[in-house]
Amino acid sequence: MTGTRARLRVEGLTRTYGPRVALEDVTFSLAAGEYLVVLGPNGAGKTTLLRTLARLIRPTAGRVWLDEEDWLAAPADRQREIGVLSHATFLYDDLTALENLRFFGTLYGLSDPAGRGREALATVGLEAAADRRVGHLSRGQAQRVAIARAVLHDPGLLLLDEPYAGLDPRAAGRLSEALAGLARAGRTVVLTTHDLARAPVAATRYLILVEGRTRSAGALPAGDLDALYERAVAAAGD
């Protein structure tokens, strides 16, 4: 499925940490090529949702299907079907941008990891930084290398967890451009953010989480997302 669009179906996803409920009965589905923005205040369960979809944590209950396959039971090598981007870059500061991408490309079993790494760097406009150590790049540049890492293996589903965190407005703008390019390429995308201003224009669906529960969900553009968000958060506080 790598390189093609992915269909995602989530049903009753729940995650608890002892008595604390981080995610409760979250259900949604995405058609291939759709772009879901998950909104919610800090502690709403957005990161737990993304980490569960990335199979970094196991849910307490619920099922996930990726292209009609039980995703949570799929073997480890199916991880090549997803790309994950977080506010942390997942990169090694003392390796160059290209060395990082070559390393991850090898883990993904690419036949020419160095060549693919250069292509991915070109996609995010960082060819010139290929031989610079990641620790010497600006925060925004490092995050763009992280995008290159996330799409290196051409995944069908992209999971983006607060990718704008810690970026200045200029770097955030460049990141938006890069992410919009990925969406135009037709990948299925799930992006979380607590910042409404960062809700991408390219998003086709939204999901608002508050205290682990779905407060509102639907298609975009369908009304004012700001108003939907305020209403959902206010309703949760009542």
């Binding site: 980490r51 990335a54 199979r55 970094l56 944590i57 196991r58 480890a76 090598d77 199916r78 991880q79 090549r80 997803i82 994950v84 977080s86 942390a88 870059t89 997942f90 990169l91 090694y92 500061d93 003392d94 390796l95 060395e99 390393f103 991850f104 090898t106 883990l107 993904y108 079993g109 890492r149």
Partner: protein
Amino acid sequence: MGWRAAGAILAKDLRLELRRVETVATMVVFAVLVALIFVFAGDPTPADLRRLGPGALWVSLLFAGAIGFGRWFAQEERNQALQGLLVSPIDPAALFAGKWAGATVFLLALECVLVPVTLTLYQLDVRGAWGELALLLVLVTLGYAALGTFFAAVAARTTAGELLLPILLFPLSVPLVLAGAEGGQSLMEAGPTRSYWDWVSLAAAFDVIFGTVCTLAFEYVIEE
């Protein structure tokens, strides 16, 4: 298991260490200092030194290794790089194998300095059995690197990791230290006798048992 992935992790760890050098360099200095302290403590006679030597070698290695394991795993925590590995299609056993191989190479590099220094300081005579000494060193190092890599991962997931690592690591390393010290003593007193081979067998059995257990259990250590 993905040998290509394990090889990539080993190559990455070697590249990172060669680029910074600081961890292995610090371990070498620390290990030599520990070996020296034994020489100066208690004004030992040459006979005392020969008796203490093999034990001092392994105690130095044990302490220096504990410094290194924590540092080598800490690099996976910076920028949450470990998460990048966990979201990739890599078998946790391959991840462990790569990290284990890296730790073994670093410890053997340390021994390249520490062993000649200890042999000289403690006036030890290997009686020409260099191959047997190398075999003992490699077997004990393999086992210690397996334990160290495993517990460094455990410690990295806790708040008091640096304090926890030696507490977890040292008690389980006792059979290895015994094998190294007693096997080395036998070798230097009488050459590769039955006693030496018994200790070598102990170290080999330890490697097989703990290498297997750590490889299989690693997936549960690194998951959240």
